[in-house]
Structures are given as C-alpha cells and as structure tokens.
Amino acid sequence: MRRLRHYARLLAVQMRTSLTLAVQYRFDFFLEGALALFWLAITLIPLLVVYSRRESVAGWSFPEALVVVGWFSVLKSVLDGGVTPSLNFVVEGVRKGTLDFVLLKPADAQFLVSTARFEPWRILDFLGSIAVLVYAFHRLGHAPRAGDLMVGLALFGVALILLYSLWILVVSVSFRVVKVDNLSYLFISIFDAGRWPIDVFKGALRLIFTVVFPLALMTTYPAQALLGKLTSAHALLAGTGGLAFAAIARFVWKRALRAYTSASS
C-alpha cells in the first residue's frame, strides 16, 4: 500500500516536471498544439483520396474505415504525447550516460523511464481524434452499442499495453546498439500502417502486422469491436496477445539492463 502511494506520488512529480517544462516554452506549447491538429487533418487525406474512387476497400465502407483512422489517431496521440517523449529521453540517456542517475534511484527503472516525459499539448490531438470517431459514427447513422463500447474500451487498454511493450523492446535494443534514432523512426513508420484496416494487407505482411508488430490488435480489432463486428475469439486473442507482449517486454528489459555499459566518464 505504501509502495503504491510512493509510485502514485512519483507519477505526479514526473508529470508535474513535464508540465513545468512544457509551459516554460509557452510558444512551443501552442505551436505544437496547432501542428498536431494540422497533422490529424493530413492523416485523413489518403483515405479521402482512396474512397473518392470507390465505395468500399477490402470490405470496409468509408465511415467504417474512418472509425479505424479515428482509433489509430487516438492511439497515435497517446504514442506521441506519452510514449515517444520518454523514448527520446532514454535514448539520449543511454547515449550520454545520464541514464546512470535513473538507475541509481530506489524505484523501478522501467517505471521511471516510462514516465519520464509527457507532452501535455497532445491532449488537443487526442480530442481531435475523438471528434473524428464521433463524426464517423454520425456518418454511419448509429452510435456503438453499450456492450461493443465496453469491449472497445477494454481493447483500448490492450492496445496501450501492446504499444508500450513494443516501445520497451525498442528501448532495450538501444542498450545494445546505443544509436536508435533510426530504430524509433522505423517504429513510427511501421506504426503508421495502422491507419488501414488489417484486411487491406495480404499474405506475409498481414501475418507480421498481427503477430510480430501487432497493428491489427491495436487498431483494427478495437475498431471492429466498436462496429460490433468482432468475434469473441478475436477479442480473446487480442487480450492474450497483449499480456504475452507485456511479459516478453519485461523479460527483455531486465536482460537489457545487465548489458547496459553506461557511457564512459
């Protein structure tokens, strides 16, 4: 119990620090916010282009595909606002050796690096994405059923766990190869494919996006759940997949810590 309180307090302090850092550069704050919304709009363009010529793609109508995009954007705002900043923090810490100070603190290192930085203005992005989702259901002409919404929210949790686990894996790799700028770029590029329903991909790519880099579990399945199209078998698969990834990530992280050599001097 005391431990839980300790970690709650730590989270609060870390968030406060990020917030203080963010408002220090108020101009950036607004600029980044505006940019985030701009990028959200850009995200919609490929979809509009594709659907301007046909009614459905791989069995997905325009509003249905829009649900996937909306869902993808929600996740992306979480990624950009809560995950990528911390990733950059760790990568820099490994390169410069300042991660030493994190490892010297009496708290779980994984927790500390995961909560190191947030970008609070991404909340705009998040809200914009919710708006896209709402618009998509408006076009569909009906709201998601309560049960579907519940499953969708549960899968949102699974998606976050997956995203986070993948990220921990990337960080673990950074302990060995040190320079992971390219790796995080690759990560973000692959993640970008999540804006398309999984049925768009064929063959090997589809398998990879379901099992190795489980984009399907992160965006398509939750969107299907909201649309009331997800079978319970798939929902279960997503849940187990999330837990499996989390366990693997934790294991790899622990191993990676042993390999950390800390930059000289």
Binding site: L10, Q14, Q24, K96, T98, D100, L103, K105, T261, S262
Partner: protein
C-alpha cells in the same frame, strides 16, 4: 564497509576503423575488441574512511566506482558495499549510497535545481520536513541559497557542481562515490568543495571514495590512496609514505639578493630549477638542515623555503616507471 575481491571488468567494444567503406563492411561483419578496464583489483575500506582513487586517464577509476555503485556488472570477482551486492540494486542499498560524476549531471537542464531536489525527495520517499531540513543545511553550507531558484542552464560550472552535490546528498547517504567532483573548478571553489566533503564526512561518519586529477584534492582529503594503472592496483596506502618512498628528498627554494658565485650552488645539492636570482635544489631529507645552514652561510639569500616535491611529479615518476602488470606495492 566496502569489500572488493579480484575485481575484473572487460568491456566488449565494437571496433570500427575510420572510413565509409569500413563502416559499411562493419555493418555486415562486426568486429569486437576486448578492453580490460580492471584486472584483479582487491581492497577493503572501513566505515568513515576517506580514500582517494588515483591513476592516469583510462586507468579504470570511473569503472571501479560504477561497479561499486551497482551500475555495471563486474566480469568476474565480487563486491559488497555494506551488506549488499551493488548489482542487485536493492532499495536499501540505493538509499545508502550516492554517486556524483563531475562530467555528468542529474540536474534538469531547463528547470531550477530546486525542481530536481523536489524530484529526488519524492524518489527517495523522504518525509517532507526532514528533506527540507537537510536541503537547507546543505544549501547553507555551500552558500547557494539564491541560486537554487534559477534555471540550471544559467548557472556557472562551479555553482552547478555545488547544486549537484546537494541533489546527491539529499537522502543523507552513508557511502559517497565522487568521480572528479572538482573538475573544472577554480582553486578557491575546489577548496570549498573539498572542505564541504570533509565536513560531511566528519559530521555524518560517511565513507568517502573520491577520484580526482588534482593532487591537492587527494592530498588534502584522503589519508589513504589506491593507485590504479591500466586496470591494475599498484599501490594501496598512505599518500605521504608513497611520496617519501618515490622521492625521499626535499626541495629548497632560494631567492638571492645578488648573483651567487658560480659553482657554489652545485656543491649544496642537485639543482632542479634555476633562473637568475632564484634556484631550487633537491636535497635528501636527512641533509636538509645542513644544506640550509650552508646556504645561509655562503650565498646571498633574501628568502628561503623548504617543501616536499610536488605530488604531480611524484605520481608521474611512479606511474611512468611502472611495468604494465607490476605487482602490488603496499605501504
């Protein structure tokens, strides 16, 4: 308090010759090279001791401190600090130690040091009033009251170092690992930091392990030194004993009111520095009194002083004449 047995650390580094072609080749086939940073280093340090780590660049001092603080795993050998194995990174252990690195900083660059202090208070789960009292005490001792509200990036090197010390000591650690804590500081600031470390040690009984390239620091702070060269422990004991053994001589520096007669100086001892109206002689310790008396009698002296040879020079001689894997010499 600290116990190291046959400590070895080998870094595996990816070697990449310069040039684009070589760089491309190394993507396909990586070549590794082993760097032996520490080799069979053993020592014991009692609670409350102040010990200096000495050695040339790349000797393995920082590596040793990182192993002692649990950041690195030794390749072989064992370490305990208190009752703990550092690499387990147990909470009690981390509460007990601190590591200050002159080359790296934990202070948040864009925020005032006070923010980092608040962060550490939460990290170490310190009761608020206790942490406030410690912080006030440290801040007063180092005289940095007005600074802790200014963004770190606006502080000078010395000011930042003092704030680093506060951040590192807020949880009142009982073992201090200090890696070049005075690097880049001016002489008076060095003396202040030194003083502070000594006072902390004396008032709390904490164990201090320090590395520095400034011999003054080590001479003033550490009754005991451990000398490491190329990863090997080559001396463990009293600094002055080492100095006397390497250079069992004193330096007599004389200022003249007029040019001394030629030849007179050489009869007194070995002349190590000479300018028109000044000379420094190296004289065996036992013959100093005699030499001074003779000098005063025969030379036009306006000022005279007797000193130990500079420690820098002694270390240079000690390490310069050292075989790569010489045996341990102890006091």
């Amino acid at each position: 308090m600290i116990r190291a047995r046959k400590l070895c650390k080998t870094y595996r580094v990816h070697r990449r010759p310069p040039g684009l072609l070589e760089a491309l080749r190394s993507v396909v086939r990586r070549r590794y090279e082993e760097v032996r940073a520490l080799c069979d280093v053993s020592f014991d340090i009692a609670p409350g001791e102040r010990v200096g780590f000495l050695g040339p660049n790349g000797a393995g001092k920082t590596t040793a401190l990182k192993i002692l603080s649990g950041l690195l795993y030794p390749t072989s050998g064992s370490v305990t600090v208190g009752d703990f194995v550092p690499q387990d990174r147990r909470t009690e252990f981390l509460h007990m130690i601190t590591l200050v690195m002159g080359q790296k900083q934990q202070l948040l660059w864009d925020l005032p040091p006070a923010e980092t202090f608040a962060m550490n208070r939460a990290l170490f789960d310190l009761p608020r009033d206790e942490a406030d009292a410690t912080q006030k005490e440290l801040v007063d001792l180092l005289e940095i009251g007005p600074l802790i509200g200014k963004p770190t990036r606006q502080l000078s090197l010395g000011e930042r170092m003092k704030c680093e010390l506060v951040a590192a000591l807020l949880h009142r650690p009982r073992v201090l690992f200090l890696d070049e804590p005075t690097i880049g500081l001016d002489v008076s600031m060095q003396a202040r930091v030194r003083d502070f470390i000594r006072r902390y040690n004396e008032s709390t009984g904490a164990t201090v392990l320090l590395t520095s390239h400034y011999m003054e620091d080590v001479a003033a702070l550490c009754p005991r030194v451990i000398v490491i060269d190329k990863g090997h422990l080559v001396y463990d004991g009293d600094l002055r004993t080492l100095a006397r053994r390497i250079r069992p001589e004193k330096r007599i520096t004389m200022h003249f009111s007029s040019l001394p007669a030629p030849g007179e100086l050489d009869r007194l001892g070995n002349c190590v520095a000479r300018s028109e109206l000044q000379a420094t002689l190296a004289v065996p310790a036992a013959q100093v009194t005699e030499a001074v008396r003779a000098a005063l009698g025969r030379l036009p002296i306006s000022d005279i002083s007797v000193e130990d040879p500079p420690l820098e020079e002694i270390m240079q001689e000690f390490l310069g004449g050292q075989p790569a894997n010489g045996g341990v010499r102890s006091a």
